[in-house]
């Protein structure tokens, strides 16, 4: 039979070594997603390497040649990060995104790294009695022709139409965040935008990390643009629900026209979807409902919808327009 063993790592290095050494081992952080998966049978590790007590729970500012960054330890709890004064003042989209996620209890438990690495809530992925390429490569995608309300509309493949469920990750992409990763070969950095991937023909891989790479921190540049950011989530309940769509946005105006803008969508794709075409279309333009809608439509030109997801296009259009025009008004004030 299969044993589940548990070890509490005393250092990040030791944790990485433990996972490298055992193909059945997984990192255990706050547990809010992994423990769920253990019970569902979605994850069946033989060994849990507990990284939740590692000294990775600091939030601190660092000066870099490119300016100040906020360095957030991987184990910092979502509630603490959302409430951190520097996040509230300098990275409001991050605070808003965290507060829009899950529930008060879960935010007290979930870690920064765990939030990034949480897996899709596609109902078929979580139901081990149904085919799912993400859970069991090659078994087929049940969502493609099935319950589709929460499916992706951008960047999906015939193998997987799941969306990434994190709110926080969407904000982090808009804020140009970088993840710091420790692996067997040492430390590396990559933009959060490059952390998650599109499903292609390998939907079992959510991210570009190797299984024994440990996220140790996230670094967020403290810029003027980041300070003028927000996050807007549309969901089926007023609270405690995953996004139908969401928008992380940052905006800098030059008089009446857009000087710089970031638009990242949640609930749209297998990864936080940066709407670069829409961003480009908006720079130099006046910001009104029609301009934003037109810009959004350039991004949505490649969208593919089904009966149950067709609503996401007008919802993305409206939510993006509302978020940006609200940001512009707020900045005026």
């Amino acid at each position: 039979m299969r044993e589940l063993t548990y070890v509490r790592a005393s250092s990040a290095q030791e944790a990485v070594e433990a996972v490298t050494a055992d193909a059945d081992a997984m990192f255990l952080g706050g547990g809010t997603n992994l423990v769920d998966h253990l019970k569902l049978g979605v994850a069946r590790p033989g060994r849990l390497v507990d990284v939740s007590r590692l000294p990775l729970d600091e939030v601190e500012t660092r000066e870099t040649p490119d300016g100040p960054v906020l360095r957030v330890g991987a184990a910092v709890r979502n509630a603490d990060l959302a409430a951190h004064p520097l996040v509230r003042s300098g990275l409001p989209a991050l605070s808003r995104a965290l507060l829009a996620g899950a529930s008060g209890q879960i935010r007290q438990q979930a870690s920064t790294a765990g939030n990034l690495l949480q897996r899709t809530r596609c109902v078929y992925f979580q139901d081990v009695t149904t085919p799912c390429n993400k859970r069991e490569p090659g078994s087929g995608c049940s969502a493609l022709e099935g319950y589709d309300r929460y499916n992706a509309v951008l960047g999906a493949s015939e193998h997987c139409v799941a969306v990434h469920p994190s709110d926080m990750a969407v904000a982090m992409v808009a804020l140009d965040a970088v993840v710091v990763v420790l692996g067997p070969e040492g430390e590396r950095r990559l933009p959060v935008a490059d952390l998650h991937r599109l499903p292609g023909d390998a939907p079992q891989r959510d991210t570009t990390l190797a299984r024994d790479e440990l996220v140790t921190a996230v670094e967020l540049p403290l810029t003027d643009l980041a300070a003028r950011s927000t996050y807007r989530k549309v969901r089926d309940r007023a609270s405690y629900a995953f996004a139908l769509v969401s928008v992380a946005a940052a905006l800098r105006m030059d008089g009446d026209t857009v000087a710089d803008v970031r638009i990242v969508w949640g609930g749209a794709a297998h990864k936080p979807w940066r709407a670069e075409l829409a961003e480009r279309a908006l720079v130099g333009q006046a910001l009104d409902e029609d301009t934003v809608a037109a810009a959004v439509d350039t991004e949505l030109a490649t969208a593919r919808t089904s009966e149950g997801t067709a609503y996401k296009l007008p919802m993305l259009r409206g939510t993006t327009a509302h978020t940006l025009t609200t940001l512009a008004t707020t900045e005026d004030a």
């Binding site: 589940l4 548990y6 547990g31 423990v35 019970k39 569902l40 409430a83 899950a102 007023a238």
Partner: protein
Amino acid sequence: MDATIRLTVDGTAHEVTVDTRTTVLDALRERLGVTTVKKGCDHGQCGSCTVLLDGRRHLTCLTLAVAQDGAEVVTAGGLGEGEGLHPVQQAFLDHDGYQCGYCTPGQVCSAVGMLDEAKQGHPSHVTEDLEGDTDLTDDEIRERMSGNLCRCGAYAGILAAVREAAQA
């Protein structure tokens, strides 16, 4: 695989042998006989299993016991002083903030933890000014208590109870 851990529950120290797969919730209910914490969904989707774990409100169904060796757990059974009720519990009685009572221990623990978060100045999803003070309006209380589902629909009473406890 079994492991022996220490948990302090409502002020009583326990040593308990758990399976590595045992959640804190099942350790409490099935191994320690502490049924003041309830299992509503077992997947972090209802809040019935909320306790205060090392002072923070916490879903025990999503937490492996083996990872909480040495933790201090306070359930609804340990909130009050001696035989007396905690003010939040009294407020739930006064405002009929419950019907069947199954989500209630979790609601009560969640309220206690939430009021502490608010005291520390934590914002919420409905806080308009992220840099302003925390004012526990009705909308703030509703949002902050939304991790605890009540199928009897006793939210009006729960709101009134938490509002009163917040003002006390």
